[in-house]
Amino acid sequence: MNFAFRYIFSSAKKEPGRILLVVLGLSLAIATFCAIRLANDVSLRSFESTARFLRGNSDLVLSSLSGRIDFELVSFVTNFPGIRSASGRLERAGLLSGDSGHEHVRVLALDLLKNSEFDYYNPEALSDREQFFSVLSGETILVSPALLSLIDSKLGYSVLQVEGHSIDLTRFTLLPLSLLGDDFSLVLDLEVYLDRFGKDREIDAIDLIFDQRQSLEQSKSELFEILGPYFTLSSEEESKERLATLTEALRVNLHYMAAIALFVAMLVVYHVMSFLGVRRRADFSLLKSIGAAPGTLWRLLFFEAVLLGLIGAVLGYGLGYTLAVFVSADLSSTIKALYAQVVVQEVSFTLKSFIEAILLGVAFSVVSVVPIAYEASRVTHIGRGSGHDEMRVDSPANLGWALAGFGILMASLALSDLTLVRNYPGLGLLLALLLSVGVLCLLPLCFWWFLKAVRPFCQHPGRVALLLAIDHMTSSFRRGSVTIASVALALGMFIGITTMISSFRGSVSNWMQETSDGDVYISLPGPYQNRSTERLPVNLIEFLRASPVVSEGTQSVVVPYRFSGNDIFVRSYQPLLDSKAQNMDNSQQCSLAVSESFARRYQVDSGQELALTSSKGAIRYEIKEVVADYSSERGTVYLSPQCFEQLLGSFETQAISLKLDSQTDSEEFITEIRDLFPDLPLQIRDGQGLRDEVIETFDATFKITYALQTISLILVSFIILNTILILFFERKHEFATLRAIGASLNSLRALAVIEALIISVLACIFAFILGIVLSLFLIYVINLAYFGWSVVFSISWQIIGVTFVVTLILVAALTFILSKGALQKNMQEALRYE
């Protein structure tokens, strides 16, 4: 141990640069992994805690399939035997008016005061929410810090409109509550809300706390018997499960990215450690000559790997912790765009995540060093220690790799069954890694063929730099292969994600062009997750119907619905200009279609029957069609107006899409509507505005993947820098010899640049292949397994081209800049080296 310490520290003193490269590579990868894990944990924890806050820590939550419950049910349920407490709640979209316009506000109303008989002053009897709010009165409104700043900003934001009624917020005591998040949200007492706004007196859910004297299951079944199947009761466990299912796809995909980053790091560490191994071959030969056993060399290298892994992991965790702050902000945007409001809590240190990082760092470092330790143990005591890679891989071995790669690719394709991937999230991750490994296993053979093919071409006086570059790549073939593989993997990850996003974006864009070709879109304030009960007033609809400039119009409604324990959406469309809605009893007019994500999630297809529950019982519909709909991955059911009314009651228009005649200017028409209905807080957008908004939401959804793209580019830059530095370290002796013979500095620089460029070009080619394979996997396997969307594959040649060009320029520039210093120093020392 004493000797191992001394040897390792003296090596580190002699080659600090290379040791630093190992530590940096490892810490960067650990940082990536930790950033994603920490951000993932904090964002999802935030999501869960917000959800828990809303539930009031209740035993069960009572809701209806249509998402609306009469408030009077609260009193009824409270008196039910076994229920200790029942509190109503709802969430609506409001509009806050100010001098410069309107802002959308999320309005939460909770039953803040107790409804039961038990001791009000006994904290244990209260739910968390009740404890928190028990000191507040009905004249207090809790607001998010951002909203409070807006109201305090003296821009005149004070009047809140919800469900067609308004109040002046400044007449209340406004207190900040950071749990509400970073957008404009507020919480007020449910009774106050219903008194001021909710004339229909409909709420979203009732939170129930049960008496412990009776089992929850028994209470649940008794309640069901009375209420009927139109209502649902979900427990915290079921909520957690729903939440987990909801976010499952996102979590799994994030871990794919993190795992690939770790894999790249392992290659980087192997790359640098193998060079160290070669440099120390003379030392190993000497040690063996004086009696060191192979086991001693294994232990020495493992000990070094453990030390470097520890240092890299600690640094990586620190860096990852810092990065997590930025990543969690992006991830929260994604969750917000996809699911619900998230409060960005602080990233917190946990011992578990720290130990995880340490174990990962050490494990990866140790695994990377295994082949090097194996070689070291086999060095003979007559080892020449010439500093060159004598263990070249020749053709048969390369062919072996290629065959193995082909086999791995075939196995991966065979295992890429959608059902398997959906049921075993880890399988998707494994397949992504296997595909990467499979493609990269083809690399040694291709590289070898390339070197063989180019060599005869180099034997010409004008091509000496190329000849020497080919020579060096041949002599350090394995390290060259690993370098190309590392760059290809990191760059391939970037291309895979970019291609997947551009394909997706293109599909969404095309879908928007086809389905949203209206000139003007009118709705009331943007509902949060479409839970708004806002309906467009009848006089507006009549006006539009009668307007001579409107050539076509479509009315739409979308409501949340509970199906098989999950939240889905039900949409319906009705023409604006056709005659009145047809007779509801005419069932031949009733039709139903489902979105692709619905079909995937619930394993249905066109021609099959779907049972939906109404207030009058279950209704069976035939699925006429499965449609592409990129609006939500939760799943959407499309009903004709007749079916909609049959299931959920009257069709109340939430939004209208209009086509205007060709002579009418959209902007003028919009102005006219606003002038005619000045008191209505209408949201009116032109066609392009709507399409832009959809793309904006799309970009917000993919914000986290953009962060991962950035990380992959950072990894690429690191590997390239690492490669160039190693190139100069490794060839110091050779460059010194050439310099001594009389080679000019420029010719040596050309030599270095040529080699770096050849490696980079080969890496780019393989990155392209790997990227396309990964993107096809993400689009046609992961997407279909978890989201079910039809995405048309398309390659963004521009982005890929720019990426490759920038990579090559970066490589050439870095090599050129670093060569000056590297080539001029220590020439004499290099010549004396043997």
Partner: protein
């Protein structure tokens, strides 16, 4: 021989920093070597033999004094200029051969010719001629790892002469060879001197090898 010395060293000084101390290796050294002369330089370890050779080759800069080779003041040349001068006028052999490991012996011999941009046909002919002369023609396709030390050094000698340099610098050329191989290499030097009128400066710690030289210069830590 020409009247002007081919190599002229005047008041050459060179020192190295070793930790906190400065070691004076060459102290106001003077040396003249005529065109076509074979000079052996001997001395103990640390006497500055290799340093002297490196300064003459333009691989190192002196602290003081001047060095002229073929009338050119080497000490004032930039690194690029000295590399170009070296390529055209000086051939070097080393104790450890310093052949490029994955080029064949033929390709190693050709490298200086490639660098200078010579015609491939002429270059090949010259390389083969040299290979024949140094008796490694049958081994030209082999890699350095596949031949013996003596064969390597002969290949290195051939490489050093491919551009027809006027000056050949040899740093311990037989240091890593057995006596028979060493003798063979020394014979090559003598032949080179007689056939090509090459000026040869050879550094060695073996006084016996200097018997082939026209002159022997002894460097010591005190004075030359």
């Amino acid at each position: 021989m020409d009247s002007e010395p081919y190599i002229e060293v005047k008041q050459l000084s060179k020192s190295f920093k070793v930790g906190a101390t400065t070691q004076l290796v060459l102290d106001t050294l003077d040396l003249k070597v005529d065109r076509g002369e074979f000079v052996g330089i001997v001395g103990k370890s640390g006497s500055g033999k290799s340093t002297l050779l490196n300064i003459i080759a333009g691989l190192e800069l002196a602290d003081g004094g001047e060095v002229r080779v073929a009338g050119k003041l080497i000490s004032t040349l930039s690194s690029e200029q000295s590399a170009a001068f070296r390529l055209k006028n000086i051939g070097i052999t080393f104790q450890f051969f310093h052949l490029l490991p994955n080029l064949s012996l033929l390709e190693n011999i050709l490298v200086p010719g490639y660098l200078i941009g010579a015609s491939r046909t002429e270059l090949l002919k010259r390389a083969h001629d040299l290979a024949r002369w140094v008796e490694i023609e049958q081994l030209l396709h082999k890699l350095p790892s596949q031949v013996s030390g003596g064969e390597l050094q002969r290949a290195a000698v051939a490489r050093s002469l491919v551009n027809n340099p006027a000056l050949l610098l040899a740093d311990e050329p037989t240091g890593n060879l057995d006596s028979e191989s060493g003798e063979h290499v020394m014979q090559l030097f003598s032949d080179s001197q007689s056939r090509f009128n090459t000026t040869i400066l050879m550094v060695t710690h073996d006084l016996e090898l200097c018997s082939r030289a026209n002159r022997t210069v002894v460097l010591s830590k005190d004075r030359t």
